[in-house]
Subunit: 198 residues, 2 copies
């Protein structure tokens, strides 16, 4: 008799965390109740509390696995130009997953401001991956000689995530392809090109 009893169904972990993110994307940290998550996941509250000790821990765990689904962890198609690379990356369903992440971001900003753990979790799962995509593509363009080496890649990598987040959260406008094109052609690339002469 080493491990008697019914096995814990760990496939439900993902369901519950996914339900947590769903509720988080629709309401907010304060309005999220364990009951909502349980109902959405078709689970009992006891099942949730057997796996995570508190509401905060559940949310942190859910946020920690919110970076799946984006194209950021794979390779990026190399079209030969930064503009082409960016548009190729944006094309698929990045926009939808980006929108979802922004709503989660919105629900968690208040929590981020208080607990350092929450800030770290959101930063690693949502903020940093978004910036990293742009950082990677811009750096590659600089390395291939498309722009000057003196470009401030780290700062410019934040440009489009920042503008998209601002637009979605604080202006409630859709963040779609025309917006990205406008930012790429009207801001990002001019900023990179201005480094040539200086």
């Amino acid at each position: 008799m080493v491990n008697p009893g019914r096995k814990r169904d760990h496939s439900r972990d993902a369901d519950i965390l996914q339900a947590t993110l769903d509720v988080l994307a629709e309401t907010s940290y304060a309005d999220l109740t364990i009951e909502m998550v349980a109902a959405r996941a078709g689970a009992g509250r006891g099942t949730i509390y057997r796996r995570w000790t508190s509401k905060d821990e559940l949310i942190l765990a859910a946020v920690a696995c919110a970076d799946q689904g984006g194209p950021e962890s794979g390779e990026f198609s190399d079209t030969g130009s930064l503009r082409g690379d960016l548009l190729a990356m944006l094309d698929p369903d990045w926009l939808g997953s980006g929108e979802r992440r922004m709503r989660i971001l919105s629900s968690l900003t208040a929590m981020m401001g208080r607990t350092p753990d929450a800030f770290a979790a959101v930063s690693q799962a949502i903020v940093e991956p978004s910036v990293a995509v742009y950082q990677h593509l811009i750096q590659r363009a600089v390395d291939r000689g498309e722009f000057a080496k003196s470009a401030d890649v780290a700062a410019l990598a934040q440009l489009i995530p920042a503008m998209a987040t601002y637009r979605a959260l604080f202006m409630r406008l859709p963040v779609e392809l025309p917006f990205f094109e406008s930012m790429i052609d009207g801001v990002l690339i001019p900023a990179l090109e201005s480094q040539r002469s200086s």
Copy 2:
């Protein structure tokens, strides 16, 4: 006997709203309690409920008068160049009041996402005034011929507020003069100048 009894001391309104903003800047919408506001303002809860019917109404009223203190409602010094105008505007204590507004913004993002009233209040009191400053100065620079008429002033006016908000809220880095200089010289002005040729 037309108006008997002790007069309501309306000078306390401002104290209470200010205390509300203070608490909001330090905690969050969900964590704010009427008790905290009352204690901070040196008032009783009854006094607050006699003036605003609910916690939500109090917060909306407080946010609605959060745009005071900034230099945005007056004239701006005209240094002859956009760069000079922007730095002149930033110099005083705009940075401190901007930091405070960002913390309030952070505390209210979740509330904004749910109630349209809250979104409208935050938008009018915090988001729009910030953008309006840049919009005004950039438009003036375009009008004086510093940049091409074809520049997308409305979009570029969001640039610095968006980058500053992103930096403060989601990266927790200080938003100080070197950052603004970097944004003005490295992004905003190059984007405006790129319109010359197109």
